[in-house]
Symmetry: C2
Subunit: 67 residues, 2 copies
């Protein structure tokens, strides 16, 4: 599985475990809802700064999103 | 330490542990030497695709570069 697919799968799993909609998750991470939707559809190649925000909002280490 | 600084520090440490110059590391990762230099100076905000190449060349998990 490539890195975008791993990220997409982990984001969706961790977001749903918190009971968050994409919009709620986006708000927590300081991102736009469409950006979160794009990430879950493997449609973006985000920077490490974005990954840091996503991991921070979910309360996980970056390795849990990408490894 | 912010994420760019963590990446820079880990890249340099792991590269030197392999005895690689920046040029050798860049070759192994399929990147340009100046790009590796920029990363070690915290001058770039790389995408996850680039991070995947760097981790692959070093034989480490992504979490070892970013966490």
């Amino acid at each position: 599985m490539d890195i975008r697919a791993r990220l997409a799968k982990n984001l969706r799993r961790l977001r749903q475990a918190k009971g968050w909609s994409q919009e709620e998750f986006a708000f927590e991470a300081g991102l736009h809802r469409t950006y979160v939707s794009d990430l879950e559809r493997e449609a973006r190649n985000p920077s490490i700064s974005i990954i840091d925000k996503l991991a921070g909002a979910l309360g996980v280490k970056i390795g849990e999103l990408l490894d």
